[in-house]
Amino acid sequence: MSFGPVHALRAASLTISAGECIGLVGHNGAGKSTLANVINGRLTQTQGAVRYRDGVGELRNSQNAQNAGVRSVFQELSLCPNLTVLENLRIPYRTMPRKGWRRAARQKMIDALDLVFPGHGIRPGATVGNLTIAERQMVEIAIAFADRDREPSLVILDEPTSSLDAAIARQLLDHIKRFCAAGGAVLFISHMMGEIFEVSTRIIIMKDGRIVDDQHASAFTRSSIVDAMGHVAPDDDSADTDQTARTLGAEVVRSPNGLNARAGEIVGLAGLAGHGQAEALAQLYFDHAPKWKSTSEPDVVFVAGDRARDGVMPLWSILQNLSLTTLPEFSRKVMVDRGREAGLVQSWQDRIGIRTDNLLNPILSLSGGNQQKVLFARALASSAPIVVMDDPMRGVDVGTKKEVYQMIRDEAATGRSFLWYSTETDEILECDRVFVFRAGHIAAELTGDEITEENILHASFEMQEAAH
């Protein structure tokens, strides 16, 4: 599979049989999404062939895939936000009987949501745009598993749990197991090792467009997977570096709801997804960012998690995207100093390892993880003492994460403060202090040794248990 001169997929031969759950891992840009897109027929292979269970040669791959019951859920949401949940089921279900379709769609949607996420609380008549991002993801997953004209035979899930909290992700994993036990197949792409090991019967490792390992799940350990993905950073605990005592400065920021940070501190925002962490960060950011005038010495910079919505300028080059925040700092009067801009971007490419041969390529030519690196560099390149991060590691591979963790620690050592919302416990454990959010408020503040998964979960769930 090639995109122009770029070979996104070179040697990848793969057979998926009924009842299998295949975990697909690989670092960013390894070709996982491309492989998934070739399987579901969205991309036509430049060489080789894809065969489906009851595929006939004449049809296009996408039609064959549809006929064979291949469904996919992708990282970028593919719902129509202006339509209701049940109307969104109508879109992929093209051959739906026309008479009484609303009632049928409502019933099918309720069935599918109940099946995958019992107790979901999503009304089929709700407009998708009014749902939280986690609920949208749930709807999308439910639509993929829904009973349409054909039963789903193979469901491709690309980072399905990225915006789900632990309890909902648990339901999904349970459903995947049930689905496979009943004879369905799942291709599960994830960066979360725990999930991969929990559901997969077989694990495939991709690297640079090739399948480098393909064995029964029991043949792997976490560290052997990381090794096979070819990253230098081993999966051992970097706790020792974490604990190097930094001298924390004075408090640099405090918001009305009690969120605060000291100079040189890494503050985590934890809790179940969608409990007000992102809003708290946005509020803090807008309170400190100048409203009318850009300044050469900003107080605070923002790293977006939802790249497409508030991160990337899709038509711009990598260079322009990276230098965006720092333009006022690096410019003379009103003119951009092109030389310094290029120098800055070049130095950040070296530091953060953006995979491209030409920084003038459009940003969308990069894989998701590399786009995220650009956004990181954009923020870190600024001189702002406070960095606000809204779940920035969504869909970023383990190796990159380790590099970024190290970079954050180094930056914190120089006196920068980080406010870091994350849905992943590993990341929260990197923080000096953690605020656990529940229903829009801070439910707990944990420091030092108190920051454990149990404490965070306890604080996130307390109220809900009491309510029962």
């Binding site: 549809q66 129509c80 202006n82 109307e87 109508r90 879109i91 407009t127 745009g129």
Partner: protein, 308 residues
């Protein structure tokens, strides 16, 4: 209250306030005859607004509605009146041309704003060719239909409601409407699901053409004659009507009832200003001020909705 209802509340309220103001200034408007006079010119505006809504629904904008309605009015007043068969064929051809434009915009990835701006000169030119000076005559049945004496409630009130309800059924309730709205909501998702976006965009443009034709015909039925420049201001009125009625420029969020009510409000605003005895020189500006006021209030509504 669902957000859709909330969106509809504002256009309804602004219409009620304006209506109240008109009745206060001119109590005699509060009659069968008065209402008919107030609203009968709103019927073609409402149809043109629906046409614009079909385009805004798929994230485009149509700058040729005004000249297109003028063109259709000229065809109705001449060809449809003199040689009905040829006249209807021309109108059908115009609808097909609209559908073809939609397909072209999708296929070549052209910006709709440029294509429709260009087309506005084409339609305008054709209208002048057909009817160089004001004139023509309305087909008899059309005249009868538009001046129908309905019992109790005048046709000028019934017709917009019927239009809104019919379009509501077509766009908000039927599956085809859902699919068309999907194009505005998430075009890529539609493509992935295997729908032909070319065909869908052509359909919504075709529907826009259909409602544009209906607007032109109604206009002739009311005025009994046509002019090449008869409906030029419909372009901006229709865009304003859609937005006033709770629609959004992007994202496929539209409301047929809202759009029709928006059109009624805009027509009424003009009458209201006349009743105020405002000099015609100031009327356009005052109309704009009313529009800005209502839209500002709507922004507050939307903000509240977002935080709720």
């Amino acid at each position: 209250m669902t957000s859709d209802r909330l969106r509809l509340l504002l256009p309804v309220l602004s219409l009620a306030v304006l209506l109240g103001a008109v009745f206060y200034l001119q109590p005699r408007a509060m009659s069968y005859f008065g209402l008919n006079l107030l609203f009968n010119l709103a019927i073609p505006v409402a149809l043109a607004t629906i046409a614009q809504m079909m385009i805004i629904m798929v994230n485009d904008i149509d700058l040729s509605v005004g000249t297109f309605v003028s063109f259709c009015a000229c065809v109705t007043a001449t060809f449809v009146h003199d040689t009905p068969l040829l006249g209807y064929a021309i109108l059908a051809g115009a609808i097909l041309a609209y559908a073809a434009l939609g397909a072209l915009i999708q296929l070549r990835g052209l910006p709709a704003i440029v294509v429709t701006l260009g087309m506005s000169f084409v339609w305008g030119g054709l209208a002048v060719l057909i009817l160089p000076s004001p004139g023509g005559a309305s087909p008899e049945w059309l005249r009868t239909l538009m001046t129908l004496k309905t019992p109790l409630v005048p046709i000028a009130v019934i017709a917009p409601l019927v239009i809104a309800f019919a379009v509501h059924l077509l766009i908000r309730r039927s599956w085809i409407g859902v699919i068309l709205q999907g194009v505005g909501g998430n075009e890529r998702a539609m493509e992935r699901a295997g729908w032909s976006v070319v065909r869908l965009r052509a359909t919504s443009y075709g529907l826009a053409g259909l409602f544009g034709v209906l607007a032109g015909m109604c206009l002739v039925g009311l005025t009994t004659a046509a002019d090449a420049n008869i409906a030029l201001r419909y372009t901006l009125l229709s865009i304003a009507g859609v937005i006033l009625g709770g629609g959004e420029f992007v994202g496929g969020r539209i409301s047929p009832f809202g759009a029709v009510i928006g059109a009624l409000t805009l027509t009424l605003a003009a009458s209201f200003l006349s009743f105020l005895r405002l000099s015609p020189d100031w009327q356009i500006g005052a109309q704009g001020a009313i529009l800005i006021l209502v839209l500002a209030v709507r922004l507050l509504f939307v903000r509240k909705e977002a935080t709720a």
